[in-house]
């Protein structure tokens, strides 16, 4: 017998098995998540060979450490 998937499980599955159209609200959420990752994660965490600065998260951490 098949077990019903939990809500987080379904969300994860749909994020992985992507069937949504462009310009849908799900697409918007994915785009915002990607942009957050690209712009907020400090380049040092990824060992970026060319990026300068620590990014907004790095700036926030430095501010909190003061």
């Amino acid at each position: 017998m098949k077990r019903a998937a939990t809500v987080p499980g379904r969300v994860l599955w749909h994020a992985f098995f992507w069937t949504y159209e462009r310009a849908s609200w799900q697409y918007d959420v994915m785009v915002i998540a990607i942009l957050a990752f690209v712009w907020l994660v400090p380049p040092g965490w990824l060992g970026d060979p060319v990026a300068h600065g620590s990014g907004p998260i790095g700036w926030l951490i430095a501010l909190l450490r003061r």
Binding site: A23, Y27, M30, V31, V38, L46, G47, D48, P49
Partner: protein, 200 residues
Amino acid sequence: MTFTGLIGWICMFPLRAIIRTCVRLQIHPNVLTFVGVLINFAAATALALGRFVTAGVIMVIANIFDFIDGKVAVELGAVSKFGGFWDSVIDRFSDIALFIGLIYLYSELRRTDYVMVASLAMMFAIMTSYTRARAESLIRKCKVGFMERPERIVLFMIGAFTNRMAAVLWVILVLSVFTVADRIILTYRELRTAGREAVA
């Protein structure tokens, strides 16, 4: 209207003017496609030299050509099977050129780790289009997965303009792996269903 829908709608204003100009000048869509790849080679060179903002500007220009060729073909009544084939082939050259630019840059910087990330991202970007092309010779449609060419190109531009190329490469790599997996899963499911129906 969604956020991404609004951005697309705004971008269409200048693009419509460019399409109208190309139609008025009777420029053949295959020529536009070819000019697009040549400009993308220039963008790849700028990436290889680490001039990201210049590369971003050149990519914007190249992808205007890339975007309008199909629309101009429709407006001119020049839609052809060869045009579709030519466009797909040239798009792969453009894709690969940008990745090679980054691979060159990272190898110059002696960063083997990012040479590998960029190479794997390139491999899965190519496999994204290959799996769809091959799947659609077996099943009706195989349009699943997030990371298709337009998303990749926009991410490249974002990475270039904001100097966050490493993060962009990771996103392209991970989501391209998912996209290829999605296409394999869908094709397997569709063929299995078709096989069962044929037996029944």
